[in-house]
């Protein structure tokens, strides 16, 4: 029995290779390598904050770092291209709290783009599993979900 593979007619223009959340990143200017410091998967927030209803904005400095690779077609294609990426912060109840849209440029002959976004605050509603949903524009202009960076928000007793 043969299985029929569904072909995506309009794939995203870039591939999401990896992404994570950290407190700081640094670029070695000589070698162009990135160093990541304090990778964050969970944040503890004083439980009193959750007594307030609705959205809360807490001071939390962090960075989202991700690596994207241009989609290479069957023919050799290394022209300069610009695409767009969306990062949407989604709370545990699937509500979108914040959206960021940014252009990403791949220079001629360069396959990868490292995107670093620095945040000074975090929007939260309730404790639970949050996600930074990454979407990349496809050839039709629509944004396609390519990956999610998770963050668990936990209440902790105030000392």
């Amino acid at each position: 029995m043969t299985s029929i593979k569904k072909v995506d007619q309009h794939p995203p223009t870039a591939q999401f290779l990896w992404g994570l959340l950290c407190s700081l990143s640094s670029i070695d200017q000589e070698r162009n390598n990135v160093s990541l410091f304090n990778i964050v998967e969970e944040i503890g927030i004083p439980q009193e904050i959750f007594k307030q209803e609705g959205k809360k904005v807490i001071p939390f400095v962090f960075e989202i770092v991700m690596l994207l690779r241009r989609i290479v077609s069957s023919t050799v294609d290394d022209r300069e291209i610009t695409t767009d990426i969306e990062v949407a912060l989604v709370d545990p109840e699937e509500k979108e709290l914040k959206k960021i849209i940014a252009p990403v440029k791949f220079q001629k002959g360069i396959q990868r783009n490292r995107l670093r976004i620095r945040f000074n605050t975090l929007d939260i509603t309730v404790p639970g599993n949050y996600g930074f949903r990454i979407s990349v524009k496809n050839s039709e202009g629509f944004l396609k979900h390519v990956g999610t960076i998770p963050l668990e928000v936990k209440p902790r007793p105030f000392k």
């Binding site: 070698r31 390598n33 940014a102």
Partner: protein, 102 residues
């Protein structure tokens, strides 16, 4: 959400909520940046003129107190990372860099 780019005019339109026909007013933020709002003051779309000359990121909230902000993007187009001559393997990355702070 849909993002349209017109190569001929070098303009970009970001459809935030719905089609352009529901737009009730347009605010000119800069000569090259226009925000479309509906009758309730909710952001509908963003138009960027001369888009290739203005690499900007946008941040917006989707609740009732919807606000939109924009940030210049730093693009460091590193040609190639260099490895020192003493090393057996070269770790220099040929990777473009895009970064901005919200």
């Amino acid at each position: 959400m849909k993002i349209r780019y017109d190569k001929e005019t070098d303009s970009k339109y970001i459809e935030v909520t719905a089609s352009k026909k529901n737009v009730s007013c347009t605010k000119k933020e800069k000569d090259w940046l226009l925000f479309d709002y509906d009758e309730k003051g909710k952001i509908m779309g963003i138009e960027i003129l001369d888009a290739s000359e203005h690499p900007v990121a946008f941040s917006f909230t989707m609740d009732d107190e919807a606000c939109i902000r924009y940030f210049p993007i730093a693009n460091c187009f590193t040609e190639e990372g260099r490895a020192t001559g003493n090393e057996k393997f070269a770790f220099g990355e040929r990777t473009n860099e895009t970064s901005f702070s919200l």
